[in-house]
Amino acid sequence: MEAKVKYYLEIADNAFILSHRLSECSSNGPFLEEDLAGTNVALDLIGLAEPVYNEAAKLNKKGESGDDLAYRRSENNYFNCLLTEQPNSDFAFIMTRQFFMDVFNYYYFMDLANSSDKFLKAVASKSLKEVTYHLKRSSEWMIRFGGGTDVSKEKAQKAVDSLWKYTGELFTASEADLALRESNVSVDLEAVRDKWDQKISEIFYLAHLKKPENDYQMLGGKSGVHSEYMGFMLAEIQFLTNKYPEAIW
């Protein structure tokens, strides 16, 4: 697979898979407004993934559509980070996963908006507006959890402790990513990491939350090695396209 196609898929898969996790929360929100806000983010992310899949399909020149890429690959050809596929548990967990990803997306797209690749530059610039709002919402929730009740603070800290090990992968460049660095298509993830780290420290300070001492990090998603959860998620996503491969929906 050409490096650029792989890199596009990393971006689209992160958005598509996280969007899917959020869409599973519909009708499960703690109150109606938050239920709708969650769906809204899910919609933004699928709206981000769609053009990138379409463009990747064009670049790939195999006669596939964007839908084929989203719906018809095998599990080891999805390249989303492990963080995005972690299953929903409570609202603190869902929001912490979102917060980690929103901070990443914010700084990542800010840098990607200077990419030499015109398409990625356009996608990043457009997404920034939405991602800025996502980050505002999730950081406000982190601060609210920390400053709310004992229960909310405990749940948020537990979510941070549990999800921390999936954050390192966000900044671990794939081979495709490194291959595109020199031509300024991809973004220096170390620079994004520094800004991410600073933002996390700032919000954790305001939220009275602690970074975990155990800094063990899990990798795999970007190279197609996923968690056990991924297969079940894809079984649902691909149910109709697998069962009725000839059908057009």
Partner: protein, 318 residues
């Protein structure tokens, strides 16, 4: 006492004069207690229906078969929740809080549209729900845009705009399925077979069996009767079904003439009212599932609402 009675009679006269003159009743206006009660029941039932209605469609979000289909379904479900919000807000102007309305729902004291107690079993159900269920809802809601209570009427104007998009996307799904493979066509027919009668039931019992209709029509809360709205829906929908090759599951359907606009009018079998009342009274395929889901999500979110409230109180103190 006498003075109060005279006063009330005077206020009632003013209220009725406004109704006659098509002037909207606003939250601070005097209104008869029965009018308020009727609205509390009807608007909250409407709000709950929008919210519970998110569940059968939500059942297919994770299996939506294309990026476009998934986006549309998510956006549609989000719209329904938004309608719930407008309607809860309209209902709150009657002096009852959203928390109270939700509590009544959980206690079984408030109802929601019975149609959502049917299951969404295949992808074409998402089409059928949009086309038939939203289609039936719009027929009713278009007339409710002229309802006499201001906040309800204004909510309806906004809601109708979005509902007509919902109906079109539902019909588009059915159309695509009918253009598709044999399996897709089978799914589409299966969906209309299961949703046709529940959609007709949405208009409620015959006018002769609908105890609340007379007051509601007199006060212009309700602008057209159940049977009249049902006929409108049937006349509009049967040609749509035929156009894409679907059959309405009623062997007695026949054209009995044309209306003033030259559109066909149809005769049809009577609805199975035993089934209707059975589902209304709690014995549908999903009554328990829908309500339990809502109760569970609400209970699981209790700590979040408490957190938000506590944080807000603490911030005020600072």
């Amino acid at each position: 006492m006498k003075e109060t009675l005279e006063n009330t009679a005077e206020l009632l006269k003013e209220f009725e004069a406004k109704i006659d003159a098509e002037i909207k009743i606003e939250p601070r206006d005097w209104m008869p207690e029965d009018y308020r009660k009727h609205l509390i029941r009807q608007i909250s039932q409407h709000a709950h229906s929008e919210v519970i209605g998110m569940q059968p469609e939500g059942n297919w979000i994770s299996r939506a078969p294309s990026l476009r289909a998934k986006k549309i379904l998510l956006a549609k479900i989000q719209d329904e929740g938004g309608h719930g919000l407008y309607l809860y807000s309209a209902a709150e102007t009657l002096g009852v809080s959203r928390d109270q309305y939700i509590q009544w729902l959980h206690e079984g004291k408030a109802k929601y549209a019975s149609v959502f107690n049917y299951p969404a079993l295949n992808w074409a159900d998402i089409g059928a729900i949009g086309w038939l269920v939203d289609g039936a809802a719009i027929t009713n809601q278009v007339s409710l845009q002229r309802t006499s209570y201001g906040p309800y009427s204004r909510a309806m104007v906004r809601i109708c705009k979005e509902e007509s998009f919902h109906q079109r996307q539902g019909y588009e799904i059915m159309w695509k399925m009918m253009q598709g493979t044999e399996d897709q066509q089978r799914m589409a027919q299966d969906a209309i077979d299961r949703w046709w009668w529940p959609a007709l039931m949405m208009f409620g019992p015959h006018d002769s069996d609908s105890p609340r209709t007379s007051n509601a029509v007199k006060w212009k809360i309700k602008r057209e009767t159940n049977d009249r709205l049902r006929e409108k829906f049937i006349n509009k929908t049967i040609p749509q079904a035929e156009l894409i090759g679907l059959k309405v599951p009623d062997s007695a359907i026949k054209i009995i003439g044309q209306d003033a606009m030259g559109e066909n009018m149809y005769e049809h079998s009577d609805i199975n009212w035993d089934e209707f009342w059975s589902v209304v009274n709690g014995n549908g395929p999903c009554n328990e599932q829908r309500l339990n889901h809502h109760i569970r999500a609400h209970e699981e979110g209790a700590w979040v609402r408490e957190c938000a409230l506590t944080y807000y109180e603490k911030s005020k103190e600072k």
